[in-house]
Structures are given as structure tokens and as C-alpha cells.
Amino acid sequence: MKSRLSVELAGITLKNPIMPASGCFGFGREYSRFYDLSVLGAIAVKATTLETRMGNPTPRVAETPGGMLNAIGLQNPGLDKVVAEELPWLSQYDVPVVVNIAGTTTEDYVEVAEKISQVANVAAIELNISCPNVKCGGITFGTDPVIAAELTKEIKKVSKVPVFVKLSPNVTDIVSIAKAVEEAGADGLSMINTLLGMRIDLKTRKPILANQVGGLSGPAVKPVAIRMIWQVSQQVKIPIIGMGGISSAEDVIEFFLAGASAVAVGTANFIDPFVCPTIINDLEAWLDKMGVQSITELIGAGWK
């Protein structure tokens, strides 16, 4: 009998809807010392770019009320090393891998997507469009429906696996961007990426982050994520991986009610390395409490 927690995402079956969020779990090695990664529904790994990236200078993180800012800057070993070392290591676990890919030109993205989507344990690509597009004067791919749609089209052409487009919340009209990428063939959406924020140090009188601005994540952003998923899920047919401040089973259910079909947990891993298995355990009890047979019954139940 099928598990009450199992969900379908663009043809991929997950044993449960919980995955660590990209950038908050490395490539899994660190947290594998805490628990068996096979208990996870999936794993979204750190953004992978064509070449090795050094990322930003430090400090790279700052705390905010109920949240945190990060400006890691896509540090990663690059496509070849990820394919040669990280993904094979992950293949020892019975867990689908969602590879988050990033770049500064469409060509970069395309090359990464083509190569990486052929790796056996890569179940899906998460297209991180919250990156500056050098060809378009650095405006981020994710803030313009046309640019986002074009990139999605190109990636779909080459990807052997479903493509989830990860939307930036720093936009006036997230629905128009969601529809544009759906139109362009996206198999699903990941939302939300981080909100742009900043903290200033009273002692130095300068920004805390070397990069000045950073991405806001954690509980503070949860209501913004819920609102955007609520708005988008009613306007698109493709599934949504919800994220933004999730740290408990209650949060997961709130995201499902808003319209998510699965969720990613990011910042909460830093506070409790066991948060993902804990949430997975707690979900069953919540389904009982709510008298729900399968968690899929809750998808969009807030507006259906």
C-alpha cells in the first residue's frame, strides 16, 4: 500500500514531500553524518555552474529578526567535479537528486543542464533564475517573464529530466513569470528563492555582508512564500515545490494548503540538523489529526 506521504512531482515519485533546499545541504555529505539520507523525499543540492566558482568574500551571512541573510555567491566546484565526485557519492543513497543549476549566460546554463541531466541519479533540474544575466546588463533572468521563458525553453530542449524553475520573489508580478515559464515548458516551479535584504553594523557603520546585500531566508519570509504559492498555484497547472521558512510539519501543511505539492527545507537545517527527518516523522501524526488519508489531499485545499 502506497505511503500516505508519497507525492508525485512531474512524473517523479517521492516517498515523502520533504527535501533539503538547495545551498543549505551542500551535496549531502555533511548531513549524512547525522542520519541516513535515504529517509529524505529528495535532495536539492548546491547550485552548480559550468566552471568552478569562488563565491563572495566573507562575511557571507548575517542574522535578521526571525531570519538570516546570505551572500554565498554560488561557490561550487563546477560541473565536472560535481558529475565526477558529488553525484556518484550521492548515488549510494536511495534518494532522487534535484540539481540546482546556475549561470550568467544561456549557453552556460544549457551546457550544465545537458550534461548533468544525463547523470543516473539526477531526477530533476532546478533552474535557478535568480542570477544576473550578463548579456542583458546583469538584470536577473528571474525578474523578466520573457528572459525567464526563453531560458526555460532552451533548458527544456536539452534536459533529459523534468525542469523545475526556481522563481525569485523580488518581482512585482510573480504570477506573470510563473505563467511565462509554464508556457515555455517548465515541468514545475520551485518557490521562493530569497528576498533581497541587508543589515548594517552599528560599530563599523557598514553593511555586515561583504557583498552588502544578501538573500533573506528563514521563518521571517514564510508569509511571503505562502502568499506567492497561493497566487501562483491557482494560475498554473504544474506542481510547485514550496519553500521559505519551513521548520515544522505544521509549516509543511500550511504550504500544501496554499498549493505546494512538495516542500524544501533550507535555513532550518542550520538550527537543527535533524529537522528533515523530524518533520517527516511528525507529518504522519498531523495527517491523522486532520483525518487525511494522503497528504496529496491537502494540495491547494486552502483555495480548492
Partner: protein, 262 residues
Amino acid sequence: MDKGHLTVISNAPVADRVYRVRLQGELVRQMTWPGQFLHVKCGPGIDPLLRRPISICDVDTDNAILDMIYRVEGSGTKILSEAVAGVEIDVLGPLGEGFPINQRKAGEHAVLVGGGVGVPPLLYLGKQLVKKGVKVTSIIGFGTSNQVFLQEELGQLGPVYVTTIDGSVGHQGVVTDIMTEKFGLTDDEWDVLYSCGPIPMLKALKDRYQLSNKEVYVSLEQRMGCGVGACLACVCPTVEEENSYFKICVDGPVFGIREVAL
């Protein structure tokens, strides 16, 4: 390395804005390596959200008792300073690579150099070195007299030199002033140097020993997220390779002085 709860036994000021907290719990028995740190959830809930890295200052493994000494800087340490006996503190650790001491031999002379809240990890280090028959000399620097702590305890391990910026106690000046003829601490007098403290202090040591062949270690600080190597918040450029980083939380916080760029 694990996540666990430790119970507060005591938590009281030892210097201006500086507290010493004594904690007890099974997890402490793993804390055998000086220089490692704990990632501490200073209060429940989301305020503050992130854990705070704090060094292991002293450990009594038999009784599973741990001491940490911390300065109240902001919200987290403030809340930690309000924890009374009996309160349970959520900690992650022991984390990181501590001070290398396995190669130490009886009869060697180790100099411990600490500045401000960089001093705490030197106590546990000094105790283990003395156990190994290593001669320990401590040089600890502070801003002014009411900031000084651990002078007596380090004194039980060997000579202690205190420096203060304003000269209100000990020698007026910085720790490196002590490493001279006058104090019998010229470089040929010691075999290894372990240091922990503010960047200017560590830079001074690096300038001094970068090109020497002396064995010198520094413990670094950086703002952290996960504390376990996953988030890449705490990186520090390596010296050997171009384009490569250490993660201070897992590769450090202790490094050989020629390994890292400060």
C-alpha cells in the same frame, strides 16, 4: 559530533561583560580535543534564530562537565547570559579541528598566546599539554584590567604574562611585546606556539612567523550558518592552491599559520 542538551550548573560573570557557563551532559564526554567549539542555540524559538559558535574552555570528562567563557556582544550571548542553573541548552558539537597536540613530547616548551575572548580555549589546551609533560607559558592580552580573566588558572600551568592596552595591569602593550629576550621568550626558547584572538593579533604573529620555520597555530573566527560544513558561510582562502578555501567550521578553526591567508 552530535546534537544534545546540556544542563546549566552555573553561569556567572568573570570579567566585564564576560561570563563563564558550566554545563553538564553526556555529550561532554566526546569533548576531548582542545580548540574545538560548540554551536550553541542561545535561546528557544526564532529569536535569536542562528546558533552561536563558542569554544570549549575546559572539560571534566569524568563528570561530563564543560566550561565555556563568552563575552556578551549581541542578542544571543545576552540571552545565554540570562540562563540560570537547571536550564537546558541545545548544543551541536564538538565541532571542527582543534589544536594539534599529538606530536608534542615531554620536555618541549609551548607558548599559548590569547587575546580577549580568544583566551578560553587555551586553558583546556594548556592542561592537556602539561599532562604530556610539556612546559607551558601563557601570554594573554586584554583591553584593560576589568576585562582580564583566566590569569590564575593558566598560572597553575606555568608562567603567565598579562598585557593590557592601557597598562592598567601587567605589561602595557600587545602580546607580541612579551616574546623577547627580556622575558626569556625569544623564538629559540620555545618549540610550538598556539594562538587564538583578534585578527590584528593573529596578523602580527603571521607577519612574524610566515617565513620562519617555527611551528605556529592560529584559531580563526568567522560568521557561521550551519557549523558543519554545508552552507559555505565560513570560508577562508588557503595559501597553497589558488582558488581554494578552507571551511573554518570543519577544516578549522585551528590552522597552521602558513596554511591560511589572514
